[in-house]
């Protein structure tokens, strides 16, 4: 923090009082706070007067009223007769789904493009650069619409769907996949999965402690992965496969059954992932380039295997540079998912701040709830990642 030692004025009287840094500090703060309180009070008084004048109410009573409109894609069950509060939850679930999938996709894509920008192949390097420049310099809103019309709306119609093994189907109504239907005993599989994860964590701890004590390395990552995958698989087989699959099948106008996501969702996720991947690619590239050449050479002179050099020397240092901007990119994805409104995907803003607001007229409550959600999501994610960031940063000496 900024710490400029302030002079203590030796003068006396009024001038001394006015020039005293502490006195000034208090005056500044009281004035600012007073002004702010006055402003808020003024806003509140105006709002009350306005609402009285127009006969509007600001409560949350409407949350229990039936919304009465359909939502094209819901992660949690919803019917036309459900309440506004349910609509709010549907919006949140949809927003989170988009954000999570887009974050994963953008990270992977960004990593690939970032590495492509460092490629030895001129064409690949140039294409990667063109990709980054073009996509980074056009508004995301335009890109979402372009993906929707340029790609997903041009896919074949349901009758001519692209099918894979009778399990997956792709057409301009969406992407269809089998849905798991748990049967009796499936809970045990989940228990086994949790146990596997716990085992893997314990194993990793033990391996690290042993390595610190004896210097003997232990392949904790493959072993842990085997544990996480193996435990539930074994449980699944032992229990006789307590899981059925609901397969999508063409019936009537479209595919029925299974799980599906609409094209607006695909367009949104792809656009978000592709757009953000440009920024992530640049972050990855600058992160890797920020690790000094000396580090490679030092590692080589210590006879550390090249694969270990990347994992143990380069990546930990690069990550320190990569993580902070990456956090803000992830938050950007969450915020940018609000552009779903452009292609009509029912995310929180589209279904709540647009449709619900329009149908119920409850501006204040709806806006407040929307903002509260985004604030909570953003602040908790950034708190979480900042904590991680602080842990990584502490290793700096």
């Amino acid at each position: 923090m900024l710490a400029i030692p302030r002079r203590r004025a030796p003068r006396r009287g009024w001038a001394a009082f006015v020039n005293n840094a502490q006195v000034r500090g208090v005056v500044y703060q009281v004035a600012t706070a007073g002004l702010l309180v006055a402003l808020i009070w003024w806003f509140a008084a105006n709002a009350a007067a306005n609402m009285a004048e127009r006969g509007m109410s600001a409560g949350f009573d409407f949350l229990g009223v039936a919304a009465g409109f359909g939502i094209s894609f819901t992660l949690i069950p919803y019917q036309e007769g459900d309440t506004y509060f349910r609509v709010f939850l549907v919006g949140i679930a949809n927003t989170l789904l988009v954000a999570v999938i887009a974050v994963v996709a953008a990270s992977l894509l960004g990593l690939v493009v970032g590495l492509a920008r460092l490629s030895d192949n001129w064409l690949i390097r140039t294409l990667a650069r063109a990709y980054v420049e073009v996509l980074r310099n056009t508004p995301l809103l335009l890109q979402i619409i372009a993906w929707f019309f340029g790609v997903f709306n041009l896919l074949p119609r349901p009758r001519q769907s692209v099918e894979w093994f009778g399990l997956f189907a792709l057409n301009n109504r969406g992407f269809y996949m089998p849905a798991p239907v748990p049967e009796a005993g499936f809970g045990l599989v989940l228990v086994a999965l949790v146990a596997g994860v716990a085992g893997a964590v314990a194993l990793a701890r033990w391996a690290r402690r042993r390595q610190e004590r004896t210097g003997e390395p232990f392949p904790a990552i493959p072993a842990g992965a085997a544990l996480i995958v193996g435990a539930p698989v074994v449980a699944y087989i032992l229990l006789g496969g307590p899981l059925a699959w609901d397969l999508p099948a063409l019936a009537g106008f479209n595919y029925q059954g299974g799980m599906s996501v609409p094209p607006s969702f695909c367009a949104l996720v792809v656009a978000l992932a592709v757009y953000t991947s440009c920024f992530i690619a640049e972050i990855v590239r600058s992160g890797i380039q920020s690790v000094g050449k000396g580090q490679h050479e030092a590692a080589a002179s210590l006879n550390i295997k090249p694969s270990w050099t990347m994992r143990l020397i380069i990546l930990p240092q690069a990550l320190r540079v990569i993580i902070p901007p990456l956090i803000s990119q992830y938050l950007n994805i969450t915020k940018n998912s609000s552009l779903a409104i452009a292609v009509g995907f029912p995310d929180l803003v589209s279904v709540w701040m647009n449709t619900s607001l329009n149908q119920s007229g409850q501006a204040i409550s709806i806006v407040a709830m929307t903002m509260a959600f985004y604030c909570a999501a953003s602040l908790s994610v950034s708190a979480l990642l900042n904590a991680y960031n602080r842990r990584v940063m502490l290793k700096e000496r």
């Binding site: 002004l35 006969g55 409109f69 619409i145 709306n153 109504r173 479209n254 009509g344 589209s350 647009n354």
Partner: protein
């Protein structure tokens, strides 16, 4: 920092205080003082509030604004058009930015009673319909069970769709957007099986398809959509003005008054005509307008029939045949029925 904040807020308070003075008057006085009418229309839509590349607005709803402007100012063009999205249409009216709203707004109980506004009448009776590609082989809405339906969001259309399918125990999947072009492109690309909107809109859109004949509009009309001008609640005089300008235009058509025969009709002995033209009676006075306010309206905008034919009639690209529909005069089988102008 403190000084700047202080200065800024002082200026802001002062400016707002001044503006607040002006807000406390009646709408008519306010409009007159301002010198123009703030008329809210929607984002450009052919036939109702169409925007041409030279920046002029036209359409049946725009003519409603022009008629009010003519009644108040004796000049149909003293209007500032405010084109805003449907999401903010009511707040914009409620907080006084717009004097009236003329933008295919459906008259519903909730809107009339709970959102602080008054419907001044109906200038177009619409109904919601469905369009499907011919090769789908569907002939009735009831065959659309399980279909994907494209619908404009933020409108009553969205609610009617849900209601109708729920009432008839049909399943459907909505594809929503607030941009008509996006919806139409989605429909044309096969992203939905059917496209639902007010029937006037369906016909207009179909005329602009690459192959209009490949699409049919299903016979059912699943909702009532009385569309009309809206004003703020609480100013009876202003809502009366808008209402009686509209009714006057309808009445004028009924008695055969047009912009063309206006001058001849001034000498008419028909008391109905004389009352409309303000030669007899004092209807204008009661509204705070000159008694001959309808003369200005009819001269510059015309009667209801003229407005209809000019903007959405059979000879326009919108091509909505009027005869035999709800929008015909009650004397000709429609339900357009002006309250007596006396």
């Amino acid at each position: 920092m403190r000084r700047q904040t202080l200065l800024f807020s002082a200026a802001a308070f002062a400016a707002l205080g001044l503006a607040a003075e002006a807000g406390a008057q009646e709408t008519l006085a306010q409009v007159k003082e301002r010198g123009h009418l703030n008329c809210q229309v929607g984002l450009p839509t052919p036939g109702f509030y169409a925007l041409a590349d030279d920046g002029t607005w036209s359409g049946i709803d725009v003519d409603m604004c022009r008629a009010v402007s003519a009644a108040v100012f004796d000049d149909p063009d003293r209007i500032e058009y405010q084109s805003v999205t449907s999401a903010v249409r009511f707040t914009s009216l409620a907080n006084g930015e717009s004097d009236m709203l003329s933008r295919t707004t459906t008259w519903t109980a909730v809107r009339d009673t709970q959102l602080g506004m008054t419907f001044a009448g109906v200038n177009f009776y619409d109904g919601q319909g469905f369009m499907v590609p011919k090769d789908l082989g569907v002939t009735s809405v009831n065959e659309l069970d399980g279909a994907t339906v494209c619908v404009l969001t933020g409108t009553t259309t969205e609610l009617n769709l849900a209601d109708y399918f729920r009432a008839n125990d049909l399943a459907f999947e909505p594809v929503t957007n607030e941009n008509v072009n996006v919806i139409v492109e989605t429909y044309l690309g096969g992203g939905c099986d059917a496209y639902t909107n007010d029937k006037s809109g369906l016909a207009a859109r179909r005329s602009a398809f690459p192959n209009p004949d490949d699409h049919v509009i299903l016979p059912e009309t699943i909702s009532k959509e009385p569309l009309g001008p809206v004003v703020r609640e609480g100013d009876e005089n202003w809502s009366d003005i808008v209402r009686w300008v509209l009714l006057g235009m309808i009445e004028a058509e009924e008695v055969g008054l047009t912009s063309a025969n206006l001058d001849d009709m001034m000498e008419s002995e028909n008391p109905k005509v004389r009352r409309i033209l303000g030669v007899e009676g004092n209807i204008g006075e009661g509204l705070g307008l000159p008694n001959d306010f309808m003369v200005d309206v009819l001269r510059s905008v015309g009667n209801y029939g003229e407005v209809y034919e000019r903007n959405i009639g059979a000879d326009t690209p919108i091509g909505l045949e009027r005869a035999g529909t709800l929008n015909a005069q009650w004397t000709e089988g429609g339900i357009l029925y002006a309250m007596p102008f006396r």
